[in-house]
């Protein structure tokens, strides 16, 4: 029965402590005139901008100097070479130079120092300083008009660091420098081990510059932030039985189709290649390879497609697998065709591994919204058991370790989390990013930090503590809130959003013209026609630096802190509120350091992939 909410949260007989002191008749209602009698209002404008205290600036100069005199990025190259990997896995020099401040208690003084430099902290102090005055002011000057200038000025005075503190600052500065030296050393050693990891991760032919000759037609999804030369991006292939949900996943993740709208998606009849070009770490090609009913007559089923590339010719062509860095196989748990799906999965695995032994195989146990938690676990165990068994039979037991199983659904965050992990496998810099985030989290006393690609809401990196799904969900929802609210009030973002609303997703009319096997003439002209009809997908939010930052406070004493750190990349952290309030300046400073380091990682990535 619905309506079970009768006893719900909104109705209670407890009226709460309410309204002992009703204002005198007429007082509250006489409009703005009476308004000034309410407690003091400060003008939020501080007409004198508050600059960073000199100590911080000096210090930044110092660290810049240090950076430029830091040892050249020597360690990366030598090591990578000795591990026999290609250049793509070389260690970016950034992490070696990332320097963080430490939030350890004995440096409490320092965090106090850093605070006035940064808007929020400063203003809080101002507000605190003004608060006692406020009561007095409102008592003495009934005619006070808003915006009230005098308390604001008094507050400003408070912000100028008293001369007495100068000395203290200098001492602190020295301490900091020492500390930085220490940190510097630490960073070096971690960074070099990260280099090894990165090198190891890079052994797969992730960035093999092989071009796929037999697919001409391409759909671009997302931000169109083209950073890499064609053929330099890893390929991800999605396959599975018909109606298993491949196109749904892609359209929800990359086309911003809302999940319930996927009900209207037609079964795909062609392979569609999507170019995903968002942030620097979210650059890849996605192949949506439709399931084909009855694989034996696949050729017949698609013979009528003529110039278009038939599913059969792609699926039967082993070179497809050799170009793929990852294969995602989608299994519909609500379907009865389990045996057929398993058979197809087995077939896909063996072929993929035979052509590219380094391929990542991801099995999405999809439409898991239909399952309970126990069923999910059980389903995965059964599936894994059967696949392992079969692989053992054909003499490929080692392959089992390469396969990952994930329960997914487009109706919750699971598909974002699963796809994030798929993408992270393909980022050679994952370990570098992780250790940078570890530094950040440890030095600022954070609980968790994610680096998000804001266009797709996939996280491209996180610190090394385990990911709790609730944390990920909160952060991902926060990004959505921030983008949505920003879009409403930012006309630039608005235009982008409007354009993306117009660019309707339509998998069915995607042409795959210009096949390698000839007859491309027809195909390409029709593709061109289709192209002109469709508005190009726009650059989406945060494509230009909006210097966004946001905080959300929750009742369980947690703060979500978001900061834009690069094009299409946002850092989202979970911090305890006592830590956050005590050390906001510190956090902002360290995030700034992270941002610099990240910039260098990205620059390196872009340069080496041009």
């Amino acid at each position: 029965m619905p309506g079970s909410y009768d006893d719900g949260l909104l109705y209670s007989d407890d009226y709460g402590p309410y309204g002992e002191s009703v204002p005198a008749e007429g007082e509250a209602f006489s409009g703005p005139g009476s308004f000034v009698r309410t407690p003091l209002l400060l003008s939020p404008r501080m007409h004198t901008p508050v600059g960073a205290p000199s100590v911080l600036q000096e210090w930044q100069n110092n660290s810049n100097a240090r950076k430029s005199s830091a040892p050249a990025p020597h360690n990366g190259h030598g090591r990578a070479a000795s591990y026999g990997t290609h250049a793509g896995a070389e260690m970016p020099p950034a992490a070696t130079q990332a320097m963080y401040l430490n939030a350890a208690p004995e440096h409490g003084a320092m965090s106090r120092l850093a605070e006035p430099a940064l808007g929020m902290g400063a203003a809080q102090m101002l507000a605190a300083a003004a608060a006692p005055n406020a009561a007095a002011a409102s008592a003495h000057s009934p005619g006070l008009t808003a915006p009230a200038p005098s308390p604001a000025a008094a507050g400003l005075g408070f912000l100028q660091p008293p001369a007495m503190q100068q000395q203290q600052q200098q001492q602190l500065q020295q301490q900091q420098q020492q500390q930085l030296q220490q940190l510097h050393g630490d960073a070096m050693s971690v960074a070099s081990s990260a280099a090894e990891n990165a090198a190891a991760a890079g052994t797969g032919s992730l960035l093999a510059p092989r071009t796929v000759s037999n697919v001409g037609r391409v759909q671009v999804a997302g931000a169109r932030n083209e950073l890499f030369a064609a053929g330099k991006k890893p390929n991800i292939m999605m396959t599975g039985l018909p109606r298993s949900g491949k196109t749904s996943i892609l359209s929800v993740l990359f086309q911003k189709v809302s999940p319930h709208e996927t009900l209207f998606l037609d079964s795909s009849d062609k392979v569609v290649k999507h170019e995903i070009e968002n942030s620097a770490f979210c650059q890849f090609q996605l192949w949506d390879v439709p399931g084909v009913n009855g694989s034996s007559n696949a050729a017949n089923a698609f013979s009528h497609t003529g110039a278009s590339l038939s599913v059969h010719s792609v699926v039967s062509n082993d070179s497809v697998f050799s170009d793929c860095a990852a294969v995602i196989f989608v299994i519909d748990v609500t379907s009865e065709e389990t045996d057929e799906a398993l058979q197809r999965l087995h077939h896909t695995i063996t072929r993929a591994v035979a052509t590219n032994p380094n391929v990542f195989i991801e099995v999405f146990i999809h439409k898991a919204d239909a399952l309970t938690e126990e069923q999910k676990v059980q389903c995965q165990r059964e599936l894994q058991g059967r696949i392992d068994e079969e692989l053992e039979e054909v003499g490929l037991p080692g392959v089992s370790a390469r396969i990952r199983y994930r329960a997914t659904s487009i109706f919750d965050h699971s598909v974002y989390e699963a796809f994030s992990q798929v993408v992270q496998n393909l980022i050679p810099e994952t370990h570098t990013l992780e250790s940078m985030l570890d530094f950040l989290v440890n030095n600022c006393g954070m609980e968790k930090a994610f680096l998000f690609d804001v266009v797709s809401k996939l996280y491209v990196a996180t610190d090394s503590t385990p990911v709790h799904p609730e944390d990920f969900e909160l952060c991902s929802d926060m990004i959505e809130v921030i983008i949505d609210v920003s879009c409403i009030y930012d006309s630039g973002l608005q235009d982008a959003a409007r354009a993306s609303g117009n660019a309707q997703w339509s998998g069915a009319d995607a042409e795959n013209a210009g096949t390698g096997s000839g007859g491309g003439g027809n195909g390409s002209s029709s593709a061109a026609a289709a192209d002109s009809n469709r508005a190009p997908p726009p650059p989406v939010n945060f494509g230009y630096q909006t210097h966004s930052s946001a905080t959300i406070r929750l009742s369980n004493n947690m703060v979500l802190y978001l900061k834009e750190v690069s094009n299409y990349l946002a850092l989202c952290c979970i911090v305890r509120s006592d830590v956050f309030d005590a050390a906001l300046g510190l956090i902002e400073y360290n995030v700034g350091v992270f941002k610099e380091g990240l910039q260098r990682v990205i620059q390196y990535r872009v340069d080496s992939n041009r």
């Binding site: 309410y18 204002p23 404008r45 101002l126 966004s548």
Partner: protein
Amino acid sequence: MVQDKKKLLLMGKSGAGKTSMRSIVFANYVPRDTERLGATIDVERSHIRFLGDLVLSLWDCGGQDSFMENFVGAQRENVFNGVAVMIYVFDAEFRQDPKDMSYFRMCCESIAAKSPQCRVFCLVHKMDLIHEENRESVFAEQSSAIRRVSHMLPVPAECFSTSIWDETLYRAWSSIVCSLVSNVSTLEANLRALCVACEADEVVLFERATFLVIAQAHTKPHEDVHRFEKISNIIKQFKLSCNKSRSQFESLQLQNESITALIDNFTQYTCVMLITSDRRARPAITTFNVHNVRDYFERLLEQVLD
């Protein structure tokens, strides 16, 4: 303490989406949860405390024919007496249904006879199922059909096009609920003063549990007239996902190139949003101001609702 109880009738064809709407607006359902709702049997009455002192007595009337016959027949007195607001929901996909229109006419006649002061809201619902380019014409057509049928109402019906999948739901329900708050203009005058004092572009007051818009004031024009409902929708969704991780949303602060936004718990039953585009604005001072006028608005709201 005096209790202000307002009777709201929620009527319409079975499956039109009545229970879905009220569950989302008042009972923290996410849209997808409504797929599991069964048909309503007879009437489900619920009491919803709104802004503290206002109690909505919501009659969700099952839309199957046998129930409808009963409402306009044997139960007419009971159902249509003392109604403050009637909300009649049309399913956009079956909007032409002649039987539905005749029930609607009978309901309007009953309202005109028993509760002449009652305001009638007609929601053309499930608009998401209508192709985007036809939505406007479908709505216009249906509105004029509604006006023709409901000509006997002393207060003309107001029409909204709605869907549980977007902010249109909040737009309609904000209007419905605001029609019950008598002194919105007083609230808005005070909000304007706050807005000016904080040098903000706009200030919006939301009811805390439902996140429906109660009142707003702005000093700068903005082209998107539906932005507040969008915010309602966005924040409500976020509140729900906070609940999932067993915490509650308290405040949001956003700064970027163009604006500073603050959404914060305000009085016991409201939240406030301030948007400032002046880049010299200091968010903490805005927070401070909001904090300071809390008590004042607490008392003001109480008076407005009396």
